[in-house]
Symmetry: C2
Subunit: 144 residues, 2 copies
């Protein structure tokens, strides 16, 4: 469904949000450890998230990643997925056809549109805050 990079990206963002709720800024090192992801690769993905203004980064000692409380509400999963995997999950044809649309639909088009709009709606309506607070309260888990 999502690429590995995107999975790590979402997990990282959620973890950063969780820690930011406590006013803690976190390093790549800590993030990778806590979300159980490869460190250097995670660093690359965090660069993308930073460039896309999904998280904030600060260099130097005491530096690291954080997310402002407000951004936790405005940043939806859709933004993260788009930043990392692009929009193919929203736009493309389920069977990989270039010229598939309502006018000239592939055999799966209509059924696929349903499933995908379901997914899109879910991603567009799910904020980082929502995910982070689930973790905070102990309802959900991130590691392994």
């Amino acid at each position: 469904m999502f690429s590995k990079a995107c999975e790590y990206g979402i997990r990282a963002a959620v973890y950063i949000a969780l820690q930011s709720l406590d006013g803690r800024r976190v390093s790549v090192n800590e993030i990778a450890e806590e979300i159980d992801s490869p460190m250097a690769f995670t660093a690359k993905i965090l660069q993308q998230l930073t460039k896309n203004n999904i998280v904030d980064s600060v260099k130097g000692p005491t530096g690291g990643f954080e997310i402002e409380r407000e951004a936790m509400d405005t940043v939806k999963l859709s933004k993260i997925v788009k930043a990392i995997d692009g929009d193919k999950i929203y736009v493309g044809c389920g069977l990989g056809l270039k010229e598939c649309n309502a006018d000239k639909p592939c055999p799966l088009h209509d059924k696929f549109v349903d499933v995908r709009s379901n997914l899109r709606t879910m991603l567009q309506n799910t904020s980082l805050y929502e995910l982070a607070t689930g973790l905070e309260v102990g309802l959900t888990y991130l590691k392994r």
Copy 2:
């Protein structure tokens, strides 16, 4: 969503079904041309479909691929997807966690279960016959 291999596999199966409705057996060559896919790669995928009893193959002159009328009903998309991509699309965690389940859910678990069961239901309820007849009647298209 699906791998390229799986996209080609579905398209190939639908095309074979369509031609089998006319009593025509088709070669890899024709299939690849008609569904606009790389020939040799498509041949590999057809081997998988054959091994999984999704299509029938016949060697030698006048040989090729075909699907029995009955199989067009019993073969659902889910079977093709499972044969090529495995069951990760049904089973795995959206965030790639190994130990994610209802007991110890990842932050996205519940929302993801919804989307995915939607997809699973769709794949389990969609037969090759349904897809092939859409094409036959000119409601849908397969190429490009």
